[in-house]
């Protein structure tokens, strides 16, 4: 391992880092050439289909597979009796059966899984599996679910986790405050709606070991969950997780992996499973809907004094990553601000409403809506400008964070606020608001700030990378974090080329394969760049050392008299004296020496979480300020976002193109969270399983976007970089809601601000085309 400072400093002008290098995976994806796992066809391949529950909540009395097994083309039908290991999965709490045996808790629960010669035969057989159910009362309201006499989704009760954090004395602060506001906010169950639904293919290798091609976010953790369910050693499962047709957190948890592994082991044939879009809708993971009651206090100058928060998060039938989503929600409920007194009670509650898990932002967008709205209300009450009150309270470099830990990373929130202040939309907001539009349309400008830690906070985490010198004298860099669209592989290439002093074309990234790359951890928590980048920076000096030592022997020079340039080790004294990497690798092979190096790092973290939490605080955070210009149609309630400004602080920018792309994607995904994306559930039955009823933003909805980064230097990440993937989405809903208020005078406490919701709110306040 090497010290952080060594890894992040460059004593020369970077050649690759910070440059707009074209995406390595770009051409294949935009031309349609890239083949995803749902496109894979193998000789002798079977098709798999899960048999889903018919009820959101029921006891299983009997499962009979005889009729299904008799369907022509069916090869096998598996039930819970066929799970040799632990019949349960779940990243944090293994509370979800791979195949249910005693009860079902949501419509996505599987009671059997079929493999057949054709997709049609698999589907027909799945229909023929007979299951006798005894329906149970459905628990669909998370607040009612918390009542002691509510029907129990799990034996131990419906409150999966109750977390409390106390800092200072909020009640005393409330007594001494000039303004106190309290509101209750609700946010929707957003679906990930990745282009490729949950899909994969399993097969056996020549040694009888399982190979899984599954678009996921962590091949090694998938390996662990699969091996646990099958009762075999992890090394007997190889997971390949790239390419991924979109993830956004929704492919962190097991979906098709265990079913594919079970069927592959049983049939000894390749097996493919692709969830339908509807299946993805009702069985896949979603963003946690939250009910947040927040009481916020300030003094007469608008300085925050206290924040009392109650969060109820609906995790649906199973926990998945809910326990840590709850942590991040608690952490972000105080925003990027100095608040001396905090009192948080947060509940993660089981219901029969589908299942919730990780989703870009990981609990932060929900609570951001609450703190940012309360802050706007306070600003209005005090007659302080919305941006000024944020500047007044923003965290600064060197601050101790709200939970009592010094923030080790860079703190650029104040600078992002300054950029927002100088943005065209904000500076000329009155002009844009009064710009001519139909009389029934009203324009407004909204602002919001956001924060989020990157990485797993106080949880232990590590990352390793390998570098192999090829016979051609090029480098294969092994990093297991999958490319999930964020540009990680390109960034890894840039970092590796920089650290190995070579051309980027000489670097190939072997990613997301548990056989080809060491465990670099997950592509999640806005951390893939930091994990993989730091691991590469740990491995590169070892490779450089290997090259120099070898070259020194080969051309009788001292190591310190050699320099690595391009694909050669050259004498500093005589540039005609050099040896190529291709020659070095031959030398190494000839002497029976290793041509591969591997290095790892333990990810820096705080020693232990604060009392009441699992993972918070984080050591470093991303920040952003967003400004939105919207137009609200008062006849229909429809909101159109015309322009959007985002100033993120994500540390050093590794690739400006990827950076902009990440931010734009996050903003458009945030538009859905803000305006349209709401899963409708009626007594555990999801009514919006497809794009016809679940409305996501399209390119026609994308506003004119301006990204203005604040480039701080962070000592945690490679070359000063931080994470980026999530911060762009966090303030989007809050800024849009604030803009709607600025346009119409109607304050929304529930997102998404659908046309129906906005229209009813306008009607209630008599704000129509002829109204105020």
């Amino acid at each position: 391992m090497i010290a952080m400072k060594e890894k992040t400093a460059l004593d020369r002008e970077p050649r690759w880092v910070g440059r707009p290098v074209s995406r390595k995976d770009g051409a294949g994806k935009v031309t349609g050439e890239t083949k995803f796992f749902s496109d894979m066809i193998m000789p002798n391949m079977l098709w798999a289909k899960a048999v889903r529950s018919k009820y959101p909540h029921a006891l299983i009395k009997r499962i009979d597979t005889a009729k299904a097994e008799a369907v022509p083309g069916v090869v096998t039908v598996l039930t819970h009796r066929d799970v040799p290991g632990l019949n349960a999965f779940g990243i944090i709490v293994p509370d979800q059966p791979a195949l249910c045996f005693d009860k079902v808790r949501y419509l996505g629960d599987s009671v059997a899984v079929v493999a057949a010669e054709s997709k049609e035969a698999a589907e027909a057989a799945a229909e023929q599996v007979e299951v006798d159910y005894a329906p149970l009362p459905v628990v669909s309201d998370p607040v009612e679910a918390m009542e002691p006499d509510a029907p129990r989704v799990h034996e131990n009760g419906n409150i999966q986790r109750h977390a409390m954090i106390r800092v200072g004395d909020v009640e005393k602060a409330f007594r001494n405050a000039s303004v106190v506001v309290e509101n209750t906010f609700r946010t929707g169950r957003q679906m990930h709606m990745f282009l490729e639904p949950e899909a994969g293919l399993g097969m056996l290798d020549e040694n009888g070991n399982i190979v899984l091609y599954v678009g996921g976010q962590s091949p090694y953790r998938d390996q662990m969950q699969v091996s646990r369910a099958l009762g075999i050693q992890p090394e007997r499962v190889r997971v390949i997780s790239t390419p991924v047709g979109g993830a956004f957190g929704g492919k962190e948890e097991n979906t098709v992996q265990i079913h594919l592994a079970l069927l592959t082991m049983k049939t000894k044939r390749p097996v493919k499973m692709v969830w339908t879009r509807e299946e993805s809708g009702f069985a896949g993971l979603k963003r946690h809907p939250m009910i947040i009651t927040m009481r916020t206090a300030v003094n007469e100058d608008g300085e925050l004094l206290a924040n009392k928060v109650r969060i109820v998060a609906d995790t649906g039938a199973y926990a998945s990553l809910g326990p840590t989503v709850l942590d991040v929600a608690m952490e972000n409920s105080v925003g990027p601000y100095r608040i001396p007194n905090i009192d948080i009670d947060a509940y993660l509650v089981y219901t029969n409403n589908g299942i919730a898990g990780a989703f870009r932002g990981f609990g932060a967008p929900q609570v951001n809506f609450a703190i940012e709205t309360n802050l706007n209300i306070i600003a209005e009450k005090l007659g302080i400008d919305r941006l000024e009150i944020r500047k007044k309270n923003a965290l600064r470099e060197g601050d101790t964070g709200p939970f009592g830990y010094k923030i080790e990373g860079s703190v650029g929130i104040y600078e992002t606020l300054l950029r927002a202040e100088n943005s065209d939309i904000w500076k000329y907001r009155e002009k844009y608001k009064s710009t001519s539009s139909p009389p029934w349309c009203k324009r407004g400008v909204g602002i919001a700030a956001g924060v989020k830690g990157f990485g797993f906070g106080a949880l232990p985490d590590f990352a390793a990378a390998s570098i192999q010198l090829t016979p051609a004298g090029k480098f294969v860099v092994g990093v297991s974090c999958p490319e999930i669209g964020q540009g990680a592989v390109t960034a890894y290439s840039q970092i590796a080329a920089e650290a190995l002093h070579c051309d980027i074309a000489d670097v190939y990234i072997a990613s997301a394969d548990s056989q080809l790359a060491p465990d670099t951890g997950t592509s999640s928590a806005s951390m893939a760049l930091v994990r993989g980048g730091n691991a590469i920076l740990a491995a590169a000096p070892k490779m450089n050392e290997l090259l120099l030592i070898s070259a020194a022997k080969m051309i009788a020079e001292r190591e310190q008299d050699l320099v690595l340039e391009g694909s050669r080790a050259v004498s500093r004294r005589d540039s005609s004296k050099f040896v190529t990497y291709a020659e070095i690798v031959q030398f190494l092979l000839g002497t029976g020496s290793e041509t591969r190096v591997i290095a790892g790092i333990n990810i820096p973290r705080v020693d232990k979480p604060i009392e009441g939490s699992i993972e918070i605080p984080h050591l470093s955070y991303m920040y952003a300020t967003a400004v939105a210009l919207v137009e609200v149609n008062t006849l229909t309630g429809a909101t159109k976002v015309l322009r959007f400004f985002l100033s993120p602080d994500s540390g050093k920018i590794i690739n400006p193109q990827s950076y902009t792309g990440q931010c734009e994607g996050a903003i458009v995904q945030g538009l859905g969270f803000a305006l349209t994306e709401e899963t409708q559930i009626d007594k555990g039955i999801i009514k919006t399983n497809n794009f016809t009823t679940y409305i996501i933003p399209t390119i026609r909805d994308a506003p004119d976007i301006e990204i203005e980064p604040v480039e701080t230097y962070d000592k945690i990440g490679p070359f000063g970089a931080k994470g980026l993937g999530e911060i762009g989405i966090i303030p989007v809903g809050s800024a849009i809601a604030n803009a709607i208020y600025d346009a119409t005078g109607v304050r929304l406490y529930t997102l998404p601000a659908t046309p129906e919701r906005v229209y009813m709110a306008l009607k209630e306040r008599n704000v129509t085309a002829n109204g105020s």
């Binding site: 391992m1 646990r228 992890p234 090394e235």
Partner: protein, 79 residues
């Protein structure tokens, strides 16, 4: 000092809570593997555990070195 392999073990998450222990030092055999280390600690869910040395995952058959610091980490995650 004996000829065994002395390792410092840091335990995290559920195993740490179950054992009511965050850290311990073990003396293992001369050619100890990660498997022997696991056999020395009564951890229930051994199939859902990362064994980590200097940021690199070990397999059960990986050889340990005298003076190693080993982390036992359940593969849970945050955000």
């Amino acid at each position: 000092m004996s000829n065994g392999t002395h390792v410092r073990v840091k335990i995290f998450g559920a195993p740490s809570m179950a054992l009511e222990m965050r850290e311990l030092t073990l003396e293992l055999s001369k050619d100890a593997t990660a498997e022997e280390l696991l056999n020395s600690i009564p951890i229930r869910d051994r199939n859902y555990l990362y064994i980590v040395r200097e940021g690199i995952r070990l397999t059960r058959s990986s050889k340990l070195k005298d003076g190693d610091e080993i982390l036992l980490v359940p593969p849970i995650a945050g955000g």
